[in-house]
C-alpha cells in the first residue's frame, strides 16, 4: 500500500461518525440500485419468458408471407412440410443441443357467438403435451375442469366463458375461414376453464389440439408456425442464423424473438432508461460524500499546507482526497450490495406478487415477479458506487489541490 493510500485510510477512520454517515448514504443508494436491478431484470425476464413461450418462441419459423402479415395471424400462409424441417433441425447436433422445445403451432382469430353474445377470441392450437411446457395453461385450470386429452376438446379463459355464458361441459361452435378461403365449422367440448390472472389470456384465449385445428382449417399436415424454445434465450440470434443456414429455404423465415414485434424494443428501452436511473441514484448517494469531503477539506486546511510544505505535490494532495472518497464509496457499495443481494435473493426464490396491478395490463406478464439474481449486476453496482463516489470526490479534492500553502498554514 502506498503512503498516500495509507494516509487516506487513516483519515477515513479519523472521524468515524462522519465516515459512517457517508458510507450509509452510498450503502442506501447501492442497495436501492441492486434491488431495482433485480426487480427490473425479473420484470423483463418475466415479460420475455411469457412473450416468447406464449407468442413467438425464442425462434419462430414461418413462411415469408406469414411474417409479412403476422399481426393478422393468417391461416393461408403455411409451412407445407413442417415435419421435414423439424427432422432436419433435430438431426443437427450443434443446433439441437441448444434447443429445449420445438413444436408446431397455429394461432387464429375467430368471432365466438353464444346466447346472443359475440366476442372476438384467439385460438391457440398446438400439441397439448408440448404446450404444457409453453402456454402452461394446464397450471391454471379451475377446479372441476381438466386439461385437453383428446381431439375436439378445448380449454377456455374464465372471463371469455363468462362473457359468452359458457359453462364447463358446453360445446363451442368455432366458425372460421380455412386455408382454402371457405368457411368451416367445428364443435369443441369445454373440458376446462383457466384463469391465469392476465386479462389478455383470460378474456380472449382458448386452446385446442393442433390436429383439430388442421382439420378445421383444412390444412392437414401443415402448420402456420414452428416455435422453438432454447436453453438460453440470449442465444436466439445465433441459433436462428444457424437454422437459417441449415434450411437454406428462400420461402422460410427464421426469426429470433428480438426481431418479432415491438416488445424487444421496449425491453431494450426499459433497460437503458433504468441504466440512467441507476447512475442518478448513485450520484445522489455520493452527493453526501462530496459534502462531507468538502467539510473535511476545509477542516484540514492546515494539514494540507503542512504536507505541501514538506514537498507533497498538488497531484498527490488531490490523489489523497480522491482516494478517501473512493474508500468511502467502495465500503458503502460493498455493504449496499450485500444487503441488496440478500433482499434480491429472497425475492428471487419467493417472488413478489403483483397480481392486482398486472391483471389490468395488456401484457404477457405473470402475476408473480421473480427478481433476477445476476453477479454481473452486483459487480456493476459496486463499480458504479465506487466510480461515482471517486468522481464526485474530485470537486472538494480540487479545492484542496488549489489551496495556497501560506493561507492553509495560517488557518486554525
Amino acid at each position: 500500500m502506498s503512503f498516500i493510500q495509507k494516509f487516506a485510510f487513516r483519515n477515513v477512520g479519523r472521524n468515524k461518525r462522519r465516515s459512517i454517515l457517508a458510507v450509509i448514504s452510498v450503502t442506501l443508494s447501492i442497495m436501492l440500485i441492486v434491488f431495482l436491478q433485480g426487480f427490473v431484470g425479473g420484470f423483463l425476464d418475466n415479460l420475455v419468458h411469457n412473450y416468447t413461450k406464449n407468442e413467438t418462441g425464442h425462434i419462430r419459423i414461418a413462411t415469408n408471407q406469414f411474417e409479412e402479415k403476422a399481426k393478422f395471424n393468417p391461416v393461408t400462409e403455411n409451412i407445407k412440410d413442417p415435419d421435414r424441417i423439424l427432422q432436419t433441425i433435430s438431426q443437427n447436433e450443434e443446433i439441437n443441443k441448444n434447443i429445449r422445445i420445438m413444436t408446431k403451432r397455429i394461432v387464429f382469430g375467430v368471432l365466438l357467438s353464444h346466447d346472443g353474445n359475440n366476442k372476438a377470441a384467439l385460438a391457440y392450437a398446438g400439441d397439448p403435451k408440448k404446450e404444457k411446457e409453453l402456454l402452461m395453461l394446464n397450471n391454471s385450470i379451475l377446479p372441476g375442469g381438466r386439461y385437453i386429452e383428446n381431439e375436439n376438446e378445448t380449454i377456455i379463459g374464465k372471463q371469455l366463458a363468462e362473457d359468452l355464458n359458457y359453462e364447463l361441459g358446453d360445446e363451442i361452435n368455432v366458425l372460421t375461414q380455412g386455408s382454402d378461403y371457405a368457411l368451416h365449422l367445428k364443435k369443441f367440448k369445454i373440458v376446462g376453464l383457466f384463469e391465469t390472472g392476465l386479462g389478455m389470456y383470460d378474456e380472449k384465449l382458448f386452446q385446442i389440439p393442433l390436429i383439430s385445428a388442421q382439420e378445421l382449417l383444412r390444412m392437414p399436415g401443415e402448420t402456420q408456425q414452428i416455435i422453438i424454445m432454447l436453453n438460453n434465450y440470449h442465444d436466439s440470434d445465433m441459433v436462428a442464423e444457424q437454422i437459417d443456414n441449415l434450411l437454406m429455404d428462400n420461402e422460410i423465415a427464421v426469426s429470433p424473438w428480438s426481431k418479432i414485434g415491438t416488445y424487444y424494443f421496449y425491453v431494450e428501452m426499459a433497460a437503458q432508461i433504468y441504466g440512467w436511473y441507476y447512475i442518478v441514484i448513485a450520484f445522489l448517494g455520493a452527493f453526501i460524500i462530496a459534502n462531507i469531503m468538502m467539510m473535511v477539506v476545509l477542516e484540514r486546511r492546515k494539514e494540507i499546507g503542512i504536507i505541501k510544505s514538506l514537498g507533497f505535490s498538488n497531484k498527490q494532495v488531490l490523489s489523497m482526497f480522491v482516494f478517501e472518497g473512493m474508500i468511502l464509496g467502495f465500503i458503502g457499495s460493498i455493504i449496499g450490495s450485500l444487503i441488496g443481494v440478500g433482499i434480491v435473493t429472497i425475492l428471487h426464490y419467493h417472488g413478489l406478487d403483483f397480481s392486482k396491478m398486472l391483471s389490468s395490463i395488456d401484457m404477457p406478464l405473470s402475476s408473480i415477479v421473480y427478481f433476477r439474481l445476476n453477479v454481473l449486476n452486483i459487480v456493476t453496482a459496486i463499480l458504479l458506487g465506487t466510480v461515482v463516489s471517486t468522481v464526485i470526490s474530485f470537486i472538494p479534492s480540487r479545492r484542496a489541490e488549489k489551496m495556497k500553502i501560506v493561507d492553509s498554514l495560517k488557518s486554525v
Partner: protein, 234 residues
C-alpha cells in the same frame, strides 16, 4: 555565489481596502552553511521572510535567487521540487500530522523524496529519533505527546532528510533549556559537518547566543545584520 540572494523583497498584505506592508524592501545574502537568527518584534516580517525563502509565499516585488535561480520564475511543480529537495520547515505550532505516529511523521519527508529504501528510511528515522530523545515515544500519535515532545518530533522531521536549508520559526519555544541546548547542538553539528544552512526566526536568547549571524528586522526592513565571528556583513 551566495546560496540565497534576496533583492529588494517587498511583501504587502491586503486587509479589506488597506494595504499592510510586511516587508518594505529587504536585501540579503545568505551563504551556504550560515547559522543565522532573524529577530525582531511581532509583525516585523520575520515569518513572512521565512515563507518567501521557503517558497510557500511570493513577494509582491523583488526577487529571491536560490543558487542563482529566480524562485519567482518557477512554476508550481518546480516550487514543489525546490521545497522537497532543499528546504525543511520547523513550525512554531509543531504542525504534525495527527493521524500519523511520531515515527511516521518523521518518515514523511523521506517517503516524499523517494530516494531511500525502507531499510534506509528506518535507520535514518531511528537515528534522528534517538538524537531528539524520543525512542520510547516513536509509536505514539501527536495527541499522546506533550508540547515539547511534539516540537522534538517536528525538529526530527525537519532534520531527517539532511536538507540544504532549514527554516525554523521559534524552534525552541516549547522546549526546556536543557533540551533546547541539545537540539541546538545537533543543528550546530549538522551545520559544521554537512554545512546545512539554518535560518531561525526566534525570540529565544539561547538560539541567538548560538547563532553565528543575527539579523534584526524592524518594520519590514533589516535594522542590523551582525556576524559574530566575522564581524558585520554589510
Amino acid at each position: 555565489m551566495p546560496l540565497l540572494e534576496l533583492i529588494n523583497v517587498k511583501k504587502d498584505y491586503m486587509k479589506g481596502e488597506t494595504v499592510i506592508p510586511a516587508l518594505r524592501g529587504v536585501d540579503l545574502l545568505i551563504e551556504k552553511g550560515d547559522f543565522l537568527s532573524i529577530v525582531g518584534p511581532s509583525g516585523s516580517g520575520k515569518s513572512t521572510l521565512l515563507n518567501i525563502i521557503g517558497c510557500i509565499d511570493t513577494p509582491t516585488e523583488g526577487s529571491v535567487l536560490y543558487d542563482g535561480t529566480d524562485l519567482s520564475e518557477l512554476n508550481d511543480k518546480e516550487k514543489t521540487r525546490y521545497r522537497k529537495e532543499n528546504i525543511s520547515f520547523i513550525f512554531q505550532s509543531f504542525n504534525l500530522i495527527p493521524v500519523l505516529t511520531a515515527r511516521e511523521n518523521v518518515e514523511l519527508p523521506l517517503i516524499i523524496e523517494k530516494k531511500f529504501n525502507k531499510e534506509e528510511i528506518h535507520d535514518k528515522v531511528s537515528n534522528i529519533i534517538e538524537i531528539v530523545g524520543l525512542e520510547d515515544m516513536a509509536d505514539r500519535f501527536p495527541r499522546e505527546l506533550s508540547g515539547g515532545q511534539e516540537q522534538r518530533v517536528a525538529i526530527a522531521r525537519a532534520l531527517v532528510k539532511n536538507p540544504l536549508v532549514v527554516l525554523a520559526d521559534e524552534p525552541t519555544a516549547n522546549l526546556d533549556s536543557e533540551m533546547s541546548e541539545d537540539i541546538i547542538s545537533v543543528m550546530q553539528k549538522m551545520n559544521e559537518e554537512i554545512h546545512t544552512t539554518f535560518i531561525f526566526s526566534t525570540h529565544d536568547p539561547l538560539v541567538q547566543k548560538h547563532a553565528e549571524r543575527v539579523i534584526i528586522l524592524r518594520d519590514g526592513l533589516i535594522a542590523s545584520d551582525e556576524r559574530k565571528n566575522h564581524g558585520h556583513a554589510d
